[in-house]
Symmetry: C2
Subunit: 111 residues, 2 copies
């Protein structure tokens, strides 16, 4: 699939209030995640994966939590990166938010 036209693709519900749509090439995957269950009282439990990750905050505000680093408050237009294997997570500060999560290699479990 060469394009993802947002309005034409059905979202996958990850859990209540968390929907995603994705596109990928052989080694690159981009996932639009729409959160509608904020704000959260505390950060989600951190997790890790071998995949490198860079995320773009398309809307809303979050706290980015990453192992060994100070928490960072981020808003629309900001980005965060996660090296392979590093524990990380977010806390949603606004009622809704959109992240665009980019991964290398692709998250095969999302397909």
């Amino acid at each position: 699939m060469a394009v993802l036209k947002f309005d034409e693709v059905k979202a996958t519900t990850v859990r209540e209030g968390v929907d995603r749509k994705l596109i990928h090439t052989n080694n690159l995957m981009s996932v639009v995640i729409d959160f509608t269950n904020g704000p959260w009282a505390e950060p989600e439990p951190t997790h890790s994966h071998v995949h490198e990750q860079i995320s773009y905050v398309a809307s809303g505000e979050i706290i980015f939590v990453c192992e060994g680093e100070p928490n960072q408050r981020l808003k629309a237009g900001d980005m965060f990166s996660v090296p392979s294997g590093k524990q990380h997570g977010i806390q949603l500060l606004t009622p809704t938010a959109r992240l665009v999560d980019n991964f290398n290699p692709i998250r095969a479990e999302f397909l």
Copy 2:
């Protein structure tokens, strides 16, 4: 750099009306490109690179041109992907637009 706080980073001017800010890990690079020189009367000349690319249209409207495929009109929230080596380009339809271009491997020439 684990985060890019948009307001705190100086943009690199690619050419008049095209500014970028970027963040990367070892194998993944994300580039926020702000266009302020639209609309364009026609598409830019196509180009190619070995890097796989996925782009998120953060604002504005574009036509996505890709070798061997029909042109696609895309707006905020849409995405396009480009396999390694494939000719591609865009035409800006709005006065301003923002793309978030993601690459694997990193575009070393952007550093």
